[in-house]
Assembly symmetry: C2
Homo-oligomer: 151 residues x 2
């Protein structure tokens, strides 16, 4: 398919698709006249790119991951030393990501209790005279303290 169709099917703008190619994340073939031709599998690929970029993963990591997805194990270097370094780099990103996820989960859970609480109050017998400090009652336990720091 050509770029317009891929754009329509993925929701990514034409500009973005060309940008991803520029970054080595997509490698469409070209027609005689220069038109980009994409594979069916590129629909998935674009979804992954967007997902990983939205996770604020460094584009180098995204690139490596994508190369791996596309070329399978071919993208893994032969030299043990290179592999070790690569593994370490990826592991660091993995740890960071895991940490980030945990922290976000904690924020989300806290937010969820607040939402539940607001909803809970809505259904109750409204007390118009209740001053803004409705904080006193209710069972919102102190949310866990320090969350993991991001870099």
């Amino acid at each position: 398919m050509r770029i317009g169709e891929l754009s329509a099917r993925t929701g990514a703008s034409v500009r973005m698709l060309r940008y991803y190619e520029e970054q080595g994340l997509l490698t469409p073939v070209r027609t005689e006249s220069g038109y980009r031709i994409y594979q069916e599998s590129d629909v998935d690929r674009v979804a992954r790119i967007r997902c990983m970029l939205s996770a604020a993963l460094p584009s180098g990591v995204v690139g490596q991951a994508l190369r791996f997805l596309l070329d399978g194990r071919a993208a893994i270097p032969d030299e043990p030393a290179d592999r070790a370094r690569l593994a370490e780099t990826l592991q660091r990103e993995l740890d960071l990501l895991t940490e980030k996820i945990e922290s976000l989960r904690s924020s989300r859970d806290l937010l969820a209790t607040i939402v539940a609480d607001v909803r809970g109050d809505v259904v109750g017998p409204g007390h118009p005279g209740d001053p803004g400090g409705a904080v006193a009652r209710r069972s919102v336990r102190k949310a866990g303290p320090a969350v993991g720091l991001a870099r």
Copy 2:
């Protein structure tokens, strides 16, 4: 505490702290002479801000979420109608956050399979200095297909 101390304690640059204030994510009081004065709780607050921003959450979302995460329930309105609207707003933030977390998890899982695969090859028959990489060798099959698209 003043901005320098908060910076030291959070790892965020002074510039970042001022920027977060500009975005309404922090609201320090000021001394007579204009110096920003932060609360102890702002240390946690900055940690959350950094985490959420590093996850590429739109600052609008971060702002909304933060107001309720850290100012707690102080801002909950009395009027049932107001509460209902608030609950709805928060629910949307909550959904966005949940979606984001799922997207991050998907990226992390993908990254994990790649790391495992790279390590699997690195680990020779007794490789010194290599922490237990008891990963079954090549077992990486096509990871799940389409993952959730980010906005």
